[in-house]
């Protein structure tokens, strides 16, 4: 629209992305591309530049904050109001038919919109039944998405819909980096002239695509091709059959680009490097090292996609709030010593995986829970018939609702007459995370730095999770004769980490005091943020020896524990007791609070690198 395109051919490096896109232009049956990578790597720039090399297809962008009515279409307001006719106002899905639909930051797309997309893509038809109108139209498009995996995972069902997958990284070669800077600065200085300079190269690419498109019709696939493709998909343990179908379509395009009417094994192998990475399932990866696929990083990712699968399936109707921990089995003390030392040395996180399942009705948990809020905050995603008195009017929906009924209404000199039955209210969606408060025992009984190291490791991995889910964190520390708030509830996971790093230890164990302060903080938080979930993680061996109220320190602690439970605050106890002498106090506390309970010795040392990556990249 405003000619803001950096020329496609002027982008240096990122050849794999370019190829994936070009393949799709040659053969739209491939099913699009998902481009994943760190920030500043030209993801959106490349896609937006596609219009340079595809005159027949436009790039239609789907903005993150799109509302349902603009996506699928709605009643034509003007027609209804002014002419009294029922007409269909086309949405983006109509415009996108036979074009390219591009979603930037696709992993941040609202749940609701994703659902609509998934449905429409399977059917390849958009059926609209709303606001008094009925309409349907075909909608087949090349879906292109870009995302930064640090920000969150893509739902597996949506991930699967993408034909190809490419990872992007910054360029490391100095000369190339220099050229990238230079080109960008030249472009910004004089966009028109710069674009002209690259016009020829753009045209060349477009011609190549056009001639490939002509050949592709004539490509013959033989049985050898088919069985090889199937075998590759099988080895990858890909779910369903989409893998091999995409493989074949991609191989066709590759062959066509090379001006050939037959497919070679190499074509299929190349195709696999685009079509399979996001479909591989965990089991096989370790065996298939010889595969010409992307490196093991991607394979590890799949681990997490499949484990997230479970949470997606069972999240909506739960009668209890459950916290699921992934236990990796028991360990010998030997191994444990080793792992703690490691942790102390490097402060690397362990792999605790906490999944929140919310009992409040919601639609899935891309973040912890998407709560439909009643306040006027949050993104307006769709409308509904008001339940009681309307507080948050959805004007556009109300207008549309009344539009088709204008014929029989007295308008009083206005263009439209709105009646109470037309009123619609907004449904807003706000990402609420949880408020997670850590009550950390820093007393001498917590033993050596080793145990503190393990504690820090455990908390760090929870923090990882918290960052993405936009949780609020607080830290209460108890030792000697009191408990204090080391970190006030904040969104800054950064601060939480710094605070943990500098935790002093030693002294007695005022467990009750720790619980008391935690209780107060969370109670206040509940009042301030009625929509969020409060969560307490107690890290201790339970050996309370400083009383609060009565003479019995443990009793005090248990009493507070019950209070916390009665308040509806969910808890977890991480028991740091030595395996040698088991008093089991922490376990008792966990019972009183109805907490989830885990021994710190049960948290195994897994491949730390993997867990770090997996926690941050895809999760």
């Amino acid at each position: 629209m405003f000619n803001n395109c950096f020329p496609f051919s002027a982008i240096l490096g990122q050849d794999k992305v370019k190829k994936a896109l070009i393949l799709n232009l040659v053969n739209p049956n491939i099913g699009g591309v998902l481009i994943s990578g760190e920030k500043g790597t030209g993801k959106s720039t490349i896609v937006r530049g596609l219009s340079n090399i595809s005159k027949s297809k436009d790039v239609i962008e789907l903005p993150l904050n799109i509302t349902e009515d603009r996506l699928i279409g709605s009643i034509d307001l003007k027609k209804a109001i002014v002419y009294g006719e029922k007409g269909f106002e086309k949405g983006i899905l109509y415009r996108a038919n036979n074009q390219i639909l591009y979603i930037d930051e696709v992993n941040l797309l609202s749940e609701h919109i994703v659902n609509i997309l998934l449905e429409v893509m399977s059917r390849e038809v958009n059926v609209v039944e709303r606001e008094g109108i009925s309409y349907s139209h075909p909608t087949k498009f090349i879906l292109i998405g870009s995302m930064n995996p640090e920000e969150g995972i893509l739902r597996p069902q949506l991930l699967d819909k993408f034909g190809l997958y490419v990872e992007v990284k910054g360029v490391t070669n100095i000369e190339n980096r220099m050229e990238i800077i230079k080109r960008r600065m030249d472009y910004e200085n004089n966009p028109r002239e710069f674009s002209l300079r690259w016009k020829e190269e753009n045209n060349r690419i477009e011609e190549k695509i056009d001639s490939a498109k002509k050949i592709i019709q004539d490509i013959k696939i033989d049985n050898g091709n088919l069985s090889f493709a199937v075998s590759l998909a099988e080895e990858g343990n890909c779910a369903g059959h989409r893998g091999e179908i995409v493989l074949i379509e991609t191989s066709k395009a590759i062959a066509a680009l090379n001006q050939r009417k037959f497919i070679t094994k190499k074509d299929i192998e190349e195709a696999a490097s685009f079509a399979l990475p996001h479909r591989l399932k965990e089991a096989m990866i370790l065996e298939t090292e010889a595969e010409p696929l992307d490196d093991s990083k991607i394979e590890d990712r799949k681990n997490d996609i499949s484990s997230d699968d479970k949470s997606n399936e069972t999240n909506s109707m739960n009668s209890n709030q459950e916290i699921q921990l992934e236990r990796e089995g028991d360990l010998e003390n030997e191994e444990m010593k080793e792992s703690i030392e490691d942790i102390v040395g490097t402060n690397k996180p362990l792999s605790i995986n906490i999944e929140f399942k919310d009992k409040v009705s919601n639609e899935g948990s891309g973040k912890r829970s998407k709560v439909k809020t009643n306040t006027h905050k949050g993104r307006y995603i769709k409308y509904r018939f008001p339940k009681e008195k309307v507080k948050d009017i959805a004007f556009d929906a109300t207008l549309r609702a009344s539009a088709s009924k204008q014929k029989n209404r007295d308008k009083n000199g206005l263009a439209i007459c709105i009646k109470e039955e037309d009123l619609r209210e907004k449904v807003r969606e706000k990402q609420t995370g949880a408020t997670i408060l850590f009550a950390v025992d820093a007393s001498g009984s917590m033993g050596a730095r080793r145990r503190m190291g393990a504690v820090k490791g455990a908390v760090l991995s929870l923090l990882n999770d918290a960052y993405q889910k936009r949780d609020n964190i607080g830290i209460v520390v108890f030792r000697k004769d009191k408990a204090e708030v080391m970190l006030n509830i904040t969104r800054s996971v950064d601060l939480a980490e710094k605070c943990l790093r500098n935790l002093p230890t030693g002294g007695k164990t005022p467990l009750a005091a720790g619980l008391y302060i935690s209780y107060q903080i969370l109670k206040t938080d509940k009042i301030k943020n009625p929509d969020s979930l409060q969560y307490l993680v107690v890290v201790s061996d339970g050996k309370a020896n400083v009383p609060l109220k009565t003479n019995n320190p443990l009793q005090d602690a248990f009493e507070l524990g019950e209070k916390i439970r009665n308040e509806g605050i969910k808890t977890m106890v991480i028991d740091t007791e030595d395996n040698y002498i088991e008093y089991g106090f922490a376990k008792d506390l966990a019972e009183k609070m109805d907490s989830d309970y885990i021994k710190i010795t049960q948290i195994s040392k897994t491949d730390v690198e993997t867990s770090v990556k997996s926690l941050l990249n895809i999760n």
Partner: protein, 343 residues
């Protein structure tokens, strides 16, 4: 002078040189992509931004256009101006303005929405412009940007990056130019911005309260003086304000003519790689900042001073780090690299 428009003069702000410089550079070259000012409360963040109003150069606008379209650049005109096709175009001379985005802003006010009145009265679907429309060709100031709803920040940064606001919601489908200098402030104690979002800010500056006693005293003195008799105070600084304004205007003139050596580019790339940055925004912004600073100095050739300044303003927030890893900036290393480079 209108009492309400009595703004504390920019040049009267004590120290905070980095912050002042970052703001000035962005006025000279809006393509630097804005400034994020991080710091504790009471460090002149908002004062500095408001004070900018006085040192911004005048420019031409098409009269009556809500987007303040530039009569000299039709490639970026809004629909309405385009439709006029050069007829009936009256020109206004105005300074860049500072448009405020409050923390409680809701999306519809930010991106714009359906004009309900038009719809009900005339049955017409008209676009009611939001803050992003007003912000075109101006400065958009967001105080406490880390407290904004995530999705509002998303929308802001997207518009800032593309220079265009494209709306598909609430019955409206509309596109309009939205190029602005984004200035955000935040107090890191309240929580941080996602790294993704920080990366989109061109420059980031950290501000601290003055530790030096003399400076602190000066801050109080000046503030009290200003509040006692603002007009006189402003008069006192009139010369230095004008001087700065001239410097800015000259810089804008020569900005397009500034050149840099091949080795500068090389240095930018080397530093970026040494720091392990994500993507390419670091080096690109680094170079642009150096070029702008050269113009600010009145020079048409980038020199080492420019590079040092650029490193300080454009690089610190771009170290590759996971959300809360300890990002250690080895500034000594960077200074060394610059020192040793042969330009």
């Amino acid at each position: 002078m209108d009492r309400n428009k009595l703004v504390y003069p920019f040049t009267a702000i004590v120290r905070q040189e980095d912050m002042k410089k970052a703001l000035i550079l962005n006025i000279i070259n809006p393509k630097l992509n804005g400034v994020l000012i991080r710091g504790e409360k009471g460090t002149a963040k908002s004062t500095a931004v408001r004070a900018l109003a006085d040192i911004m150069p005048e420019r031409e606008e098409i009269m009556g256009c809500v987007f303040s379209c530039d009569p000299n650049d039709d490639s970026f005109w809004c629909e309405d101006c385009k439709n006029k096709e050069g007829k009936d175009i009256n020109i206004n001379h105005r300074k860049m303005r500072i448009i405020n985005l409050p923390v409680s802003a809701t999306e519809d006010r930010v991106v714009g929405t359906l004009d309900i009145e038009q719809a009900i009265k005339k049955g017409e679907k008209r676009f009611e412009p939001g803050i992003l429309a007003e912000a075109n060709r101006n400065i958009l100031y967001v105080d406490e940007v880390n407290l904004l709803d995530d999705h509002v920040v998303d929308v802001l940064l997207d518009a800032a990056a593309m220079g265009v606001n494209s709306i598909e919601r609430e019955g409206i489908s509309y596109v309009h130019p939205s190029r602005f200098v984004l200035i955000g402030t935040m107090n890191p104690e309240e929580g941080d911005l996602r790294p993704q979002l920080i990366d989109r800010f061109g420059l980031v500056v950290e501000v601290f309260g003055e530790k030096d006693i003399d400076a602190r005293v000066e801050v109080i003195k000046r503030r009290l003086k200003f509040e006692k008799d603002p007009e006189a105070f402003i008069q006192e600084y009139e010369d230095s304000q004008n001087e700065l304004l001239n410097k800015i205007e000259n810089a804008k003139d020569i900005l397009g003519k500034v050149t840099y050596s091949e080795n500068c580019l090389r240095l930018a790339a080397e530093i970026a790689i040494a720091m392990g940055v994500d993507g390419h925004r670091a080096d690109i912004t680094f170079m642009k900042t150096a070029v702008t600073h050269a113009a600010y100095r009145g020079d048409t050739q980038v020199n080492k001073e420019d590079l040092f300044v650029a490193a300080k303003l454009a690089l610190p927030h771009r170290m590759r780090r996971k959300p809360f890893e300890e990002g250690v900036i080895d500034f000594d290393k960077i200074d060394e690299l610059i020192e040793e480079a042969v330009l």
